[in-house]
């Protein structure tokens, strides 16, 4: 055997030779027993290893961990409620499965529902209920959205989503859920989600009041509400009546529920019977890890979707500026592609394309400030994340491969 290479020397001292193939490991051990040069090198590596450990040890943190029981109790107390939505959808016979998971902080960005009541200048400013025609989106005062007790089940992006005023929506083929097994079946906005949605802050009152779109039913605080608290439905006792949130009201509210993941099963590209996605587009996104389209790395606007008849979809939303385009993963295993696009309203859209065999768990955590839609086709994933309602994200997903 030739001399032991440096990596193997380190593995030997790290006790990692057992993770090598047995034959190789035995050969290394034997060689070190008989070769004086390698034995000397081993001692040099031993000193280097000791020095490196010593240096890292200079920055050792003090670790004071909560007890496991405390941690477990916290997890139980904040566990997202199981949603019966999937059972309902199964009964309706959807071909696509839409799984809704609630994350912490689903109503207001920082997870505090009772912040719908905002103290300002000594006044309690009520949250103005939504306008007629759309159920209220006002959250209950003391609701714990992520708690076990009393949490509402949220049906997001279902076929009953009410179009938002100011947007044009195409007729949704899949609104009759029981008979049309389309994917998603959420309404597809004609502008693909570029109409800005006011983020729900609910915690500050700007001078002149926060702007809002009447029909979006987003949380609004207006001067009128401040000046006439009676309009907000204050009871005779002076306490404010805050309407409760129901599943239907949330679905219609078009609030950008945060931390929500919606999973959509995409039809196989080989399926001749695949249904068109609601709105006329075929939803598909097949990852090409090797034939990645060069779109300039950073920047650039994709105006055309290249459809060459092979069913190759676009990796990006056409007509939207591309800010970043990068490969994921290192070494010999590509994990996929990450694209960032900037919607016209300035919102950031992250798109991840993961090939078969790569689980979405490799991605950074979603966080509590965005929603996510995952398109799954036979183990390949296309995942969209943005501060948009889930149905908007589903619409953007559809645009990755519009009807040519």
């Amino acid at each position: 055997m030739s001399h032991v290479d440096e990596g193997a020397l380190h593995a030997y001292l790290d006790g990692a030779l057992d993770e090598y193939p047995t034959v190789e490991a035995d050969a290394v051990r034997h060689h070190l027993d008989v070769c004086a040069d390698c034995a000397a090198r081993l001692e040099e590596v031993r000193l280097l290893r000791f020095r490196a450990d010593e240096i890292l040890g200079l920055a050792t943190p003090r670790v004071a961990a909560p007890s496991f029981e405390e941690l477990r109790a916290y997890v139980r107390a904040t566990r997202p409620p199981a949603s019966p939505a999937s059972a309902r959808l199964n009964r309706l016979g959807w071909a696509a499965s839409v799984l809704v998971a609630l994350g912490v902080g689903w109503m207001v960005r920082d997870g505090q529902l009772d912040r719908a009541l905002v103290p300002t200048d000594g006044l309690i400013v009520p949250v103005q209920p939504a306008t007629e025609g759309a159920s209220t989106a006002t959250p209950p005062v003391n609701a714990d959205a992520a708690g076990d007790g009393g949490a509402e089940t949220v049906d997001v992006g279902g076929p009953e989503v009410v179009p938002v005023a100011g947007e044009e929506r195409e007729d949704v083929d899949g609104t009759d859920v029981s008979s049309t097994p389309t994917v998603g079946a959420a309404g597809v906005a004609a502008d693909g989600g570029t109409t800005p949605e006011e983020p729900v802050e609910g915690t500050t009152v700007a001078e002149g009041a926060a702007a809002q779109d009447e029909a979006t039913s987003t949380v609004v605080v207006t001067d009128a509400a401040i000046s006439s608290p009676a309009d907000a439905g204050a009871s005779e006792s002076g306490e404010l009546d805050v309407p409760a949130v129901t599943a239907a009201s949330v679905a219609r509210a078009e609030l950008p529920l945060t931390g929500t993941t919606t999973t959509v099963r995409l039809p196989s590209l080989d399926d001749p019977n695949r249904e068109r996605f609601a709105g006329g587009g075929i939803v598909s996104s097949r990852l090409e890890t090797r034939a990645v389209r060069p779109i300039g790395g950073r920047g650039g606007r994709v105006e055309e979707v290249r459809l060459d008849g092979s069913g190759e979809p676009s990796l990006v939303v056409p007509g939207v500026d591309v800010v970043l385009y990068e490969n994921l993963g290192e070494g010999t295993t590509p994990l996929g592609v990450h694209i960032v696009q900037q919607l016209d309203d300035g919102l950031r859209l992250d798109i991840y394309h993961l090939p078969e065999g790569v689980d979405p768990s490799v991605l950074p955590p979603l966080g509590s400030d965005r929603n996510e839609v995952r398109g799954d086709r036979d183990g390949e994933w296309v995942i969209l994340r943005a501060y948009l309602p889930s149905d908007r994200l589903v619409g953007l997903l559809a645009r990755l491969n519009p009807d040519g």
Partner: protein, 169 residues
Amino acid sequence: MSIDWNDVYRTTFPDLVRFLHRKVWDEERARDLAQEAFVRALRHEPKKPRPWLFQVAANLARDEARTVLRRKKHLVLLKTEVERREESLPDPGSDLEEKERWQGVRRALDALSEKDREALLLWDAGQSYTEIAKELGLAVGAVGTTLARARKRLASAYEQGEEANVARR
């Protein structure tokens, strides 16, 4: 086979904090992120907790770095000159020597390539070669070589930093 999460927590939490600390350089924040990783693990219940935890922790640290960067930019716009000057004064209660040591280690780690640094931190946090290989997309046999390079560079960079400090004094 069910997982004894209490045991996983006991054996992995300190390593996770150690790993995260070398990324965020803040003890408290490292502990918070380690807790967050465990909260997610207890919800997600991965079959292989330890590598899963380290992967989530790495992602959390990366997100943290981006947040800190955004926050710093924001704060720069907001702070007054007075506040900036006040912040630059050392906190009389802080352990200056400890902070200086951390700075030295941090500078040395920054001299490594990202992969080498990650391999070294994962090893230092108790991950096996197999786990490190999987995390970084390497062959198991390449982990030793990566660690060899990382340790050499770390030692060299740290010594250079110390020499520069001595020369300044």
